[in-house]
Amino acid sequence: MARYAMLIDLAACVGCAACAAACVLENEVPPGHGRLWIRQRELGAFPDVTVEYRPEQCLHCERPPCVPVCPTGASHQTEDGLVLVRAERCIACAACIAACPYDARFMNPAGYVDKCTFCEHRLARGEDPACVETCPTGCRVFGDLDDPESPLHAWLAEAERVDVLRPEMGTAPKLLYLNTPSKRGLANHESEVES
């Protein structure tokens, strides 16, 4: 068993969206939807200005609110901590979409709820997720939090700061952002953006 997690170093992310494009190609994400997207946010006021490029996707929460609300068990958490959807069980009721605090799920036109899987099919082959493999700045790393040899630990130890999205939701995300450009960390709402 593993406890899979992903780190994204925002100090190195340039928002090129290669990860998003790789995800679409790898997972045949239908047009008009996304398992992964980039949020670009201008922060501060001249001359103290920065831009946050923030890739967002399913955080594969340790306590995923999308799982217990599912009436058929389609939305589930694997022993390795992946939050996945069994399409054949999904009735497309969207309860999981309602429960997800991160807009990480969408309705696949084929009639089931879809989301990032951390490329579980690639993990099964011993490969990294497509978004990690394709990132040109190397700002993403994927691994097992329970594995002391995983590069995750070195990245975490060297990070100036570590943030998660909406920690107040109590979801314990396993996608963590390192070195957020703003000293205020990740902003949840437009109203919190420095200006």
Partner: protein, 265 residues
């Protein structure tokens, strides 16, 4: 300023068809509950009404299936092959199914009618309760406050009574209608207070409510009229209750699903 490359899944996930379901499930659950109460008192008097409640359930279940993007994948069978007690919709599926069975037995006059009515009181209460539970369970949607655990059953019963005052002897259902209208009105009045005193997103939730306060004025006014007219002009009171409760429930379902995370303020 925030821009995106790609698309977060922030679009509305429940549509007007879902609002119709929220109406139908209230008519189904409320009529079934009223049938159960009548059946416990005097079993024979509930037989006719049982057919009506059963019709509402069948209509609602059909609507649920028909509006589901998964309808032709026939995955709904998993609702009854799973044990998911933390899921409001799972409770709803079983609540509707068992209520339908109890209503059928009552309507056909098979078996111990008062016992079936007692069971139906429980299962129909589940049907009345689960829509509010399905909303309130989502901490990520601050407009779907825990107060909805009470408002949706109360307004659901009110919707059913609004129809029953037309179909039943009005003097029988009118007092119930008055009580349900007053309870719904009180809960609707408390709703913005509950939002503003909620958790971290209370300020945003209340600000969003302020954008729709006119709907609450309209819905609340109709509920007040329903309570006021319940004994004087039951048919008119029923119309007011139906419109008022539908407006309030629909606004809450429709507006509450919008993503605060992606849109902010």
């Amino acid at each position: 300023m925030t821009t995106f490359y790609g698309l977060p899944g922030a679009e509305a996930f429940w549509h007007w068809t879902t609002l119709v379901h929220f109406l139908l499930v209230a008519l189904a659950g409320g009529t079934a509950f009223y049938t159960a109460v009548l059946g416990i008192r005097r079993a024979a008097s509930a037989r006719g009404l049982a057919w009506l409640a059963l019709a509402f359930i069948v209509l609602d279940l059909f609507m649920l299936w028909a509006e589901s993007p998964a309808r032709f994948r026939f995955s709904h069978v998993w609702l009854f092959l799973s044990f998911e007690p933390a899921s409001a919709i799972w409770w709803g599926a079983w609540g509707l199914a068992t209520s339908a069975l109890m209503l059928l037995l009552l309507a056909l006059g098979l078996g111990p009618a008062r016992f079936w009515a007692g069971v139906l009181a429980l299962t129909s209460a589940v049907v009345l309760a689960y829509p509010g539970y399905a909303l309130a369970a989502n901490a990520a949607r601050p407009l779907w406050d825990h107060l909805l655990l009470a408002f949706f059953p109360a307004s659901g019963l009110l919707l059913a009574l609004a129809v029953l005052v037309w179909l039943r002897p009005a003097e029988e259902a009118a007092p119930w209608l008055q009580v349900a209208a007053l309870a719904s009105l009180a809960l609707a009045a408390l709703y913005p207070v509950a939002l503003a005193s909620g958790g971290a997103d209370a300020r945003l939730a209340f600000a969003l409510w302020l954008r729709g306060w006119g709907w609450f004025l309209l819905g609340g006014g109709l509920l007040f009229l329903a309570a006021f007219l319940a004994r004087r002009a039951p048919a008119l009171a029923g119309a007011c209750a139906l419109a008022g409760a539908f407006v309030l429930r629909s606004w809450i379902v429709e507006q509450g699903q919008h993503s605060f995370f992606v849109h902010g303020f």
